[in-house]
Symmetry: C2
Subunit: 408 residues, 2 copies
C-alpha cells in the first residue's frame, strides 16, 4: 500500500505555528526560550500527544515524539526556533513534515520494524551562545564553558535567560545521551539559496554540508587628523580592512569556486568624520564543502593579513570563535533519496549545502542526510521568506517514503 | 621699545584652563555649552576683566575682550571648546596667546592707533550642529535650519542643549553683526600635523587653508545568507564601500598630491556574521587647498560610485552636509609675519593648513592669517596632544609683534 502525507493538515499546522511569535515588523521572532518559543514548545508537545506518539524532552529542551518499534531508531526533524525578524519555514518545515510523516504511518497502521522519531532541536539559530545548542548538547559536542561564559545576543548571560524556564546549564549538559541507537537522521529544510529555483527542481538532495569558520578580527593602526595627516603617512585601519575584504573575496571566488567568504560585521574606531580610523574590528565567515579549501583559505587569510599589516603599518589580531567540519552524506542515504525521486518522478538534483544545519551535527553520531526544497528568490532569515506549497508537499512525501524504507 | 609677552603667565593660564573639563579617560572633554565649557567661559571672562579689557559677549556665546583705539579693529583669537577626550592646546593656545598679547600691550602702556580685540569663538569643533558654529554666526554664514533641525552628537536637538544656558536659536542668529570694522584677524594654533616637527621649525605661516567637503554616503545592495549565496550572485554593499575606499584613496594620493580623502565612519547593515551586508553607510571627508582639485575629486567620486554600483548591483546615495572653500592668506599678512620671523630670527616656513579653523571662516569678512606652532608627533584631538613650550613662547611673541605692527 502506498501512503501519502495529509498535506492540508501539514500546511495548516505551519500557518498555525506562524502565529506564535509574530514580529510587529513582519515575520516571526521566536528565539529559543523566549516567551513565544515556550508557547510554540507547548503547542508542538500537544501535537505529538494528540498524534499518539510518545513524548520526551531532554535537559536541553530538545523535544522528541516516538513511534515504537524494534531495533535502531530512524529519526527526522529540524528546529522550531527562528532568527529575530525571520521567516516561518526555516526549521518548522522540517519538524512538521517529520511529524506529519509519523502521523501518516500511524494512521495508516503501517507496520514497520524500526522505531521512528520526530525531533525538534533547541536554538539551531544560535540566538543564545552559538549555533546548534540543542543538537550539540544531544550529540555530546557542547562545551560547558561556552554556556557559562557566552553572552547571548540579548546582552544577558545564558543562565539569566534560563531562569524563567525549566532548564539550566546543568540540565543542558546532561542532555548528552550519546544515543548509539540512532540508525539514520533525515532533515527536510528550505534551501536558503537560489539553485533549486534557478534549475526548476522541487527537490535538492544534499551530498555535502559546508564546514564553517567564524573569526573575529581586528586591524589596528593609528588614529590621526583627516585634514593634516598626509595620505602616505597614515596607518588607516579601515583601509586595511577594505584591502583585506576585496583580496579575500577575489581569492575565494577565483581559487575556491563554490566556497564563500563574508564580512558581515564591521566597526571602526573612533568613528568620526575627520579622524583617520585607528582600529577596524570585523567578522570573517568562511565556508567550504572541502576541508582542503578551508585549510587553504585559513593559510591565505593569515598571510594576506600579514602582508597588508606590513604594507600599511597595521597590526592584525584574530580569534576563531566557531569551527565546523564539512560533512559528506553517506551514499546509502543519497542513493535511497535519489531512487525514490526517480520512482515517484519528483524533479530533483544533487547539491551541497552552504548553510549549517542540525543534520550536520547529527552526522557526528549517525548517518545523516538532508532534503532541500526551494525558497522564493533564495530569501531566508527574513519576513519575506516564502515557498511554493507544492514543493513542500513533494518534499514531505519524499521524507515519508524515505522513513518507511529506512524503518522497514 | 620692544616688548615681550609674559610667558610664565601664559603657560600657567593654559595649565589652569586644562583643569576645567578633565576627562577621566585622560585629556579634556569641553564641548560648547557643556557644564565644563560654561565654567571655562566664566574663567575667561574674569581674565578679560582683570586684564582691564572691555568685555563683550554676543548671542552665539562668542566672547570678546577689547583694548580701545581708533579706526578699524585688529582681532586675534581662536576657540576654548574641545572635542570629546581631546587635548589642551587645540584652541586655548590661540585664545590665551591673544589675551596675553593684549595684556602685554596694555601693561607696557604701548600707544597704538587701532583698537585690538581677543576673540573666543563658540563650538569650533562642531560638537553641536557642524563645525564653526560661533564664527559662522559672527560672520553671517549660518543657516537657521541647521540650528533647528540638526541633531547634536549627544543625540539631543540643539535647543535642548541651549535650555540650560543664556542662549537660544534666536540669540545665535542675532549674533551676526557683519562687523565691517575688522581690518585683520590672526589665529595662532597648533599644526595638528607633522610638517613643522619634521622640518624642525618653530613657526608655520599658513598661506592657504584647505577647503573641505563632508558627505554622508550609502551603498545599498541585498542582504543574503552568507552560506548559500554564491559570491558571484551577491550584491554586497560592504564590498562596494571597500572598493570605493581603496580607489578613492588611490586617486587622491596619485592625482592630487597633498589633498586628502578619509572615510572615518562606517556602519554596515544588518551587521551579522552570516549575512551578506545589504547596506553600508559611511562618511566621506575630502579636502584640498585647490578649488580645482576639490571639483575634480567630487566628479571622480560620483563617477566611481556609479561604476561600482553598476558592476556590483548596488545603489549609491549621498548628501553633502558641509562644504567650505579653500582660503588663501592675503600676502600683506604672510609678508608681515615673514618679515618679523626674519628680523627676530624665528625658525619658520610657509605651509598650508589641512584642517579647518576659525580663521578660514573669518576670511569671508576680513583679511585673515594663521600662525602654526608644532605639536608632538602631529597628534591632536587626543589626550596625548602636546607641544614644546618654547615654540609657544616664540609663536605668542610673533603674534604680539604682528598685532603691534597691524595696529600701529
Amino acid at each position: 500500500m502506498k501512503i501519502k502525507i495529509n498535506f492540508e493538515r501539514l500546511k495548516n499546522e505551519i500557518i498555525e505555528l506562524s502565529q506564535i511569535g509574530k514580529d510587529p515588523r513582519g515575520g516571526i521572532s521566536r528565539p529559543s526560550f523566549s516567551k513565544p518559543d515556550l508557547k510554540a514548545r507547548e503547542w508542538f508537545k500537544d501535537k505529538i500527544s494528540i498524534a499518539g506518539l510518545s513524548l520526551r524532552q531532554d535537559g536541553a529542551g530538545n523535544i522528541f515524539g516516538r513511534l515504537e518499534g524494534e531495533g535502531k531508531t530512524i529519526m527526522a526533524g529540524s528546529h522550531l526556533d527562528s532568527v529575530i525578524n525571520g521567516g516561518i519555514f526555516d526549521g518548522p518545515a522540517g519538524v512538521l513534515s517529520a511529524l506529519e510523516s509519523l502521523r501518516a504511518i500511524k494512521e495508516n497502521s503501517l507496520k514497520l520494524n524500526k522505531p521512528l522519531e520526530v525531533a525538534a532541536f533547541t536554538d539551531e539559530e544560535g540566538n543564545l551562545v552559538g549555533d546548534f545548542l540543542g543538537v550539540r548538547a544531544f550529540t555530546g559536542s557542547l562545551r560547558r564553558e561556552v554556556l557559562e561564559n557566552g553572552l547571548t545576543q540579548f546582552g544577558k548571560p545564558l543562565k539569566d535567560i534560563l531562569q524563567d524556564t525549566e532548564f539550566s546549564i546543568d540540565s543542558i549538559m546532561q542532555a548528552d545521551k550519546q544515543r548509539p541507537d540512532i540508525d539514520a537522521f533525515l532533515e527536510l529544510h528550505i534551501e536558503q539559496g537560489q539553485v533549486l529555483e534557478t534549475e526548476e527542481k522541487s527537490i535538492g538532495i544534499v551530498d555535502c554540508i559546508a564546514g564553517k569558520n567564524y573569526w573575529v578580527c581586528s586591524f589596528s593602526g593609528r588614529a590621526s587628523h583627516a585634514g593634516t595627516t598626509p595620505i602616505e603617512l597614515r596607518q588607516d585601519a579601515f583601509l586595511g580592512l577594505a584591502d583585506f575584504a576585496l583580496k579575500a573575496t577575489q581569492y575565494v571566488a577565483t581559487q575556491h569556486y563554490g566556497s564563500k567568504v563574508t564580512i558581515g560585521k564591521a566597526h571602526i574606531f573612533p568613528g568620526a568624520f575627520s579622524i583617520v580610523s585607528g582600529r577596524a574590528d570585523f567578522s570573517l565567515d568562511f565556508r567550504s564543502t572541502s576541508e582542503e579549501s578551508l585549510q587553504a583559505m585559513e593559510i591565505f587569510f593569515l598571510s594576506l593579513a600579514e602582508d597588508i599589516s606590513s604594507t600599511r603599518g597595521l597590526k592584525f589580531r584574530y580569534k576563531s570563535i566557531d569551527k565546523t567540519k564539512p560533512v559528506t552524506t553517506p551514499p546509502r542515504l543519497t542513493n535511497l533519496l535519489q531512487e525514490i525521486c526517480e520512482k515517484e518522478d519528483y524533479s530533483h538534483m544533487i547539491l551541497p549545502s552552504g548553510a549549517g544545519h542540525d543534520a550536520q551535527i547529527m552526522a557526528s553520531i549517525t548517518d545523516s542526510a538532508m532534503i532541500f526544497i526551494p525558497c522564493t528568490d533564495g530569501i531566508s532569515h527574513s519576513p519575506e521568506e516564502n515557498i511554493k506549497w507544492e514543493d513542500l508537499e513533494i518534499g514531505a512525501n519524499l521524507l515519508l517514503q524515505s522513513l518507511i524504507k529506512l524503518a522497514s
